[in-house]
């Protein structure tokens, strides 16, 4: 059922929750748009899983409001048919086969034509040849793949993935990452990804929120966050490092350059106009400087994360 315009896939407004007089979430607000892959980041104990549990209706908020597809999942059994969930334990029985596990959930979600859907998903996650094996004989990575297949079995509109790469080797992490992107595109799902893997989040998420000390410290698109802070910066490597001082002096006089510093074999120029990179290159070439490489400077999500989580810990 298509949602009315303006309804976010996930909406959290002024959410607060405490356990045993300890504030876990304080006035947390963010929204996730339809079709986004949203990364929810934070250190251990920050309240990420608590947020997901409140969104899923498993815990009640002390204050604030949460909505998934415009509904309160705690009070609306039918609305839960439109969401999928993958917790760290995968929600699978070790004593049932892959097919048996998926058939069970297909029954709970009243999936149409379950045999065909199960075949399709087992092929997609590469477990078709192990379909009748007991899940207890699977590796951690295979269980996670089957867990993802289980989570999207009923074609949910929003899927919550809690640490999907946790405990996996790098190869399996990549496989899970690729699978999430593939599923997001193919099934047009909104993905709410709770993860510690900053590299994974940076690669696949469109928007992130960083939670620390019970509060949202950052909420923005990955593109905006990883662009250089404040004014955009460009790193220019020169063929002759001896030209750096002269080039820096020349560039510093350009109107669209706010600052210039020598760095390694070249310069780091801070631009007052984000679109002035071609003009900078033209000016350097025009002044007969030989350029080897030009690249926009960006910060990694890890730097941003550590900056905000670190400051939150200091404040705490």
């Amino acid at each position: 059922m298509p949602e009315a315009a303006g309804v976010s896939a996930v909406e959290v407004r002024h959410l607060s929750r405490s356990f045993d007089d300890r504030d876990i979430l304080s006035d947390v607000s963010f929204t996730v748009g339809h079709g986004e892959i949203f990364g929810y980041l934070g250190p251990n104990g920050a309240g990420k899983t608590t947020t997901i549990r409140i969104l899923l209706g498993l815990l009640a908020p002390d204050a604030g409001e949460v909505r998934v597809l415009g509904r309160d999942l705690a009070a609306d059994d039918d609305a839960r048919a439109r969401i999928g969930v993958l917790f760290e334990n995968n929600g699978l029985s070790d004593r049932m086969s892959a097919v048996g596990n998926l058939a069970y959930y297909a029954g709970l979600y009243s999936v149409d034509d379950p045999e065909e859907r199960i075949d399709e998903l087992l092929t997609l996650v590469g477990l078709a040849d192990r379909r009748e094996d007991l899940v207890g004989t699977y590796s951690t990575g295979m269980k996670r793949k089957l867990g993802i297949a289980r989570a999207i079995l009923h074609r949910p509109e929003v899927v919550f993935l809690d640490e999907p790469s946790s405990g996996l080797d790098p190869g399996a992490q990549r496989m899970v990452r690729d699978l999430i992107v593939e599923l997001s595109r193919r099934e047009e799902m909104t993905v709410f990804l709770n993860s510690h893997h900053l590299d994974e989040v940076e690669r696949i998420c469109s928007t992130v929120a960083i939670l620390a000390g019970g509060r949202i410290r950052v909420f923005d698109t990955v593109a905006n966050l990883t662009a250089a802070s404040g004014r955009p910066a460009v790193t220019v490597s020169l063929a002759d490092p001896g030209d750096r001082a002269r080039a820096c002096e020349a560039v510093g006089q350009l109107a669209f350059v706010a600052g210039c510093e020598m760095d390694g074999n070249g310069l780091v120029c801070t631009l007052s106009d984000p679109g002035a990179t071609p003009d900078l290159i033209a000016a350097l070439v025009g002044a007969n400087f030989r350029i080897e490489e030009v690249r926009r400077s960006s910060r990694s999500l890890e730097e941003i994360y550590l900056e905000h989580v670190g400051s939150a810990e200091v404040a705490a």
């Binding site: 498993l58 969930v85 929600g91 069970y104 709970l108």
Partner: protein, 233 residues
């Protein structure tokens, strides 16, 4: 109704695949009646009513214990594994989940109890030659009273296992078993005729079983998802 069948069917299949629980249940189903049969045959001799009463008296504790054995797999194991959290996110209500699991536990527990009763009847018959297999009140007891008590035990123990932490469950599991046995002994004591097989006794036990079932349903209705999630280890 469909989800109820799906949940109950799955619990029954898992119960029948769990070798360790099945072996424990089978040992108990054979050992306990054989030991009890000696006492019943010695005390009741060839008095059919007394023998049938003795058999009826031991089937209830056996049924409750079977319910406890199978509950550990259906409720406690899913909680320990955390699988219950995923199930709570499905479009199935907590009450329906509990009902499906309780019935899924009660059916194999009942079948084991019937097997145990058959062993008891065979052992007593061998020892006393009392023709008890066709005793109408014993059949009524096995067909109505025993399943109601097993369903009540499975429902109560299951609800408690969902609501309590793992440590509390370890302690209270035995409290439940002994609580049920104590209740059975008390009811046998207050029933006219000293708990022998009679319409009145069966009526009292059936009413008590239904009351326990209602109590289980009431308690299960008080268990919240938050309570379950916060007691997952």
């Amino acid at each position: 109704m469909k989800t109820f069948r799906v949940i109950a069917g799955r619990e029954m299949r898992l119960a029948l695949r769990n070798r360790s629980v099945l072996i424990s249940a089978l040992i108990f189903a054979v050992w306990f009646p054989v030991m009890s049969a000696l006492g019943i045959a010695a005390a009741a001799g060839e008095d059919t009513t007394a023998v049938a009463g003795g058999i009826a008296a031991i089937t209830l504790p056996v049924g409750v214990f079977m319910g406890y054995l199978f509950c550990a797999d259906a409720f406690l194991r899913e909680k320990r594994d955390g699988t219950i959290e995923t199930l709570l996110c499905t479009p199935v209500s907590l009450r329906r989940l509990w009902e499906g699991k309780a019935v899924g536990v009660a059916v194999p527990a009942y079948l084991m109890t019937l097997a145990s009763a058959a062993v008891t009847i065979a052992a007593v018959y061998t020892l006393s030659s009392a023709p008890i297999a066709g005793e109408p009140l014993l059949i009524l007891h096995l067909a109505v009273v025993v399943p109601v008590w097993i369903a009540a035990a499975a429902g109560l123990i299951g609800a408690a296992q969902l609501a309590l932490g793992m440590r509390e469950n370890q302690i209270l599991g035995f409290v439940f078993i002994f609580g049920f046995i104590f209740l059975i002994v008390v009811l046998q004591g207050v029933a006219p005729g000293g708990g022998g097989l009679s319409v009145t006794t069966e009526g009292i036990f059936a009413a008590a079983g239904l009351a326990l079932l209602a109590l289980a349903r009431f308690i299960a209705g008080k268990v919240t998802k938050e309570r379950i999630v916060r007691t997952i280890p």
